[in-house]
């Protein structure tokens, strides 16, 4: 029984960064912007979070630094694509490339240093309950943030007027503009929210998952988060499900490697990436369904005419 609980806990830990990054990107894409820089913002959050935690000795300051780092870095993308109307695909790619380089440079002195880990929740009495205690009341703080964030985004997008406005911008920025909605302002805020989420996701990697700094430690998770948004057809609760499926794949291959299953470890390591491809194929096979769900202005630059 203990093993099951442990596996479930590690799956949650692996799923949390995917979930947070994907939920952030979901809001960005719902506003009609495609930010391919998730991997870059995530790695910047990871290095910022680790660095601040390491230098101050407080993982909580690290957590805040990770969020701030992701948000500030995403601002770069926002200025380029929203104010200068650059190509979103190319700009997002360059954000990722820049983030990978910049984080490597900033983290030179952090390699091999012991990091600070965010403590797990521990409520006297509740956490000690067998089985459910640790699952419900004994996880790291970012896990609870991720669940709350998913619920909040669900409520915001589908139950509030602002959320409706945001979705309408994503479906037709021209009509929204004609109605007097400030398209660019909404998109700025969405992109920054997405950046903060990606930063937080990166912070989870360097403050909880493996509390240390390793170059390229995001290992493609930012890209998988992007794929998750497509997989979820832009719905928050499906992102939640998808993130946990991928968390399970990630942990499953690690356990398989540890058990010494007679399959090359590299094949097991490539499973999350192969699974992403397979899942994308399965979900986009139905062309009509994809077209119905995709925000109609996704990726198109918008320059308000005056």
């Amino acid at each position: 029984m203990d093993i099951t609980v442990n596996i479930l806990l590690t799956i949650a830990t692996a799923a949390t960064p995917l979930l947070i990054a994907a939920i952030g990107e979901l809001v960005v894409e719902r506003s009609g912007v495609l930010n391919l820089g998730v991997e870059g913002m995530m790695i910047m959050g990871a290095v910022g979070g680790f660095g601040a935690g390491y230098l101050t000795g407080s993982p909580w300051i690290g957590l805040l630094a990770a969020i701030a780092m992701g948000a500030v870095f995403s601002l770069l993308f926002a200025v380029m694509t929203l104010s200068l109307a650059t190509n979103q695909v190319a700009t997002g790619l360059s954000l990722t490339l820049l983030g990978l380089g910049l984080s490597g440079m900033m983290g030179t002195n952090f390699v091999g240093q012991p990091g600070e880990r965010l403590p797990n929740l521990d409520i006297p009495g509740l956490t000690a309950i067998p089985i459910v205690g640790r699952l419900l009341f004994g996880q790291d703080p970012i896990f609870y943030i991720s669940i709350a964030l998913t619920a909040a985004v669900m409520w915001f997008l589908f139950k509030t007027r602002t959320g409706l406005t945001l979705r309408s911008i994503g479906d037709s920025h021209a009509s929204a503009h004609a109605l007097g909605i400030h398209v660019i302002r909404y998109r700025y805020l969405s992109v920054i929210f997405g950046g903060a989420c990606a930063g937080l996701a990166g912070g989870h990697l360097s403050l909880v998952y493996t509390p240390q700094w390793v170059e390229n430690m995001t290992a493609g998770r930012g890209w998988i988060a992007l794929a998750l948004v497509v997989f979820a057809s832009w719905r928050p609760w499906r992102v939640l499900a998808g993130a946990y499926i991928f968390g399970a794949v990630w942990i499953g291959q690690l356990h398989a490697q540890a058990f010494g299953i007679p399959v090359p470890s590299q094949l097991l390591s490539s499973l999350p990436y192969l699974a992403t491809v397979v899942v994308l194929v399965l979900i986009s096979r139905n062309k009509r369904l994809t077209m119905m769900n995709t925000p109609a202005s996704l990726g198109q630059p918008f320059v308000p005419d005056r």
């Binding site: 983030g99 910049l102 890209w223 794929a227 090359p264 491809v277 994809t290 005056r306």
Partner: protein, 369 residues
């Protein structure tokens, strides 16, 4: 203060030519700030970064070695991007080209003679093209986003190469090092001018590819098809150009060139397969493609510039003790500034006060009524 874009009646030829240079100057300025923050005199750093790595003839050879794969991959990618097809997995196609091209020297080391190299190069191209065919097939058949699939396959390719050189293809006499046997002499891409440096035929391949793609894009119907489908798929459909065929064409072409770059690198610069055969050429080539304005001849120049950022990164690392990641930062900044400057081609930038547009607009509305 607010930034406002005003559409130009037609694209500005002036900024079209100037924008890469403005971007380069801005990168230099940002780089100077970065070096100053790192506590290094920017002038010293720039001398070490941009001048010293190309001050001797043998160093120019090194520049050509680094530029060759960048140019080869980037001219292929430029066709994709012109057609609005986003192959960002060239790094994986590069690796597969290196692997498939190495079949002969690794598995049949006794096979020697003048036939070996052409076969290796051909197999390299086939390997890269076949790997690129996967995202193309998934896009045309299942409507799958090619950005994500091509990128995911990069990780798979890296792990596949890692498995090969640690497992079945490992040199049994290699003292357990994860690498294949050294290629025999007839499997090594010859050097161009052995008396002055190491540069090999890969650079010539790159120049030939650039010229051929330039002819394709500017003188042939296929190039016109690429441009039409890229700027307006609808117009392309009316003209009878098939989007699916174009997806395959662009992916296979760019994959084959990336594969050629891969096998040229393995057979020319390295001489065997190792766990890592590319310092991110496939990704840097994306920057090269954009810096070269998606024009094959511009890409040759851009490839040389980006090759210099690699050499400079190594130089500042050994001379100043700064991480060679500085090269990646320079490359990223350069792409950012290029994309930003490209806005000037289509738009005029106007700075206005916050309330100005509203005041202007209000009376006009009244008149209209």
């Amino acid at each position: 203060m607010r930034l406002e874009l005003v559409k130009r009646p037609q694209r500005s030829m002036l900024f079209s030519a100037l924008s890469p240079f403005i971007a380069f100057v801005l990168t230099i300025i940002a780089g100077a700030i970065m070096f100053a923050l790192l506590g290094v005199n920017p002038l010293t750093a720039f001398r070490i970064y941009f001048i010293e790595p190309i001050s001797q003839v043998w160093q120019l050879h090194e520049l050509a070695i680094k530029a060759a794969p960048l140019i080869l991959i980037a001219v292929g990618l430029s066709v994709c991007y012109k057609a609005n097809i986003w192959n960002i997995g060239a790094e994986g196609q590069f690796i597969l080209g290196g692997i498939v091209g190495s079949i002969f020297p690794v598995l049949f080391p006794q096979f020697e003679g003048p036939l070996v190299l052409p076969l290796m190069l051909l197999f390299g191209m086939i390997g890269g093209a076949a790997y690129a065919a996967i995202p193309a097939l998934l896009k045309t058949r299942f409507n799958t986003n090619e950005i994500l699939t091509s990128l995911m396959l990069v990780y798979v390719a890296q792990l596949f190469l890692d498995w090969l050189v640690r497992g079945p293809w490992r040199d049994p006499q290699g003292h357990g090092f994860p690498q294949t046997i050294q290629f025999n002499d007839s499997a090594i891409l010859p050097e161009l001018l052995p008396e002055s440096g190491r540069a090999n035929w890969g650079f010539v391949f790159a120049l030939i590819a650039a010229v051929l793609i330039w002819i394709l894009m500017s003188r042939m119907l296929k190039g016109f098809e690429v441009r039409v489908l890229g700027s307006s798929p609808r117009a392309g459909r009316f003209a009878g150009f098939g989007l699916s065929r174009m997806v395959f064409f662009a992916f296979l072409l760019s994959g084959a060139l990336a594969g050629l770059a891969g096998i040229s690198e393995v057979s020319g610069a390295i001489g065997q397969l190792q766990p890592v055969i590319s310092p991110g050429y496939g990704f840097t080539a994306i920057i090269v493609a954009f810096l070269g304005r998606l024009n094959p001849l511009g890409i040759v120049a851009a490839g040389l510039v980006l090759a210099l950022t690699y050499l400079g990164g190594e130089a500042v690392q050994s001379a100043l003790g700064i991480s060679d990641k500085v090269a990646r930062v320079f490359q990223g900044m350069l792409l950012f500034f290029v994309l930003g400057c490209d806005t000037l081609i289509h738009y005029r930038i106007r700075l206005t006060g916050l309330s100005a547009p509203k005041l202007e607009a209000a009376p006009k509305l009244e008149e209209a009524r």
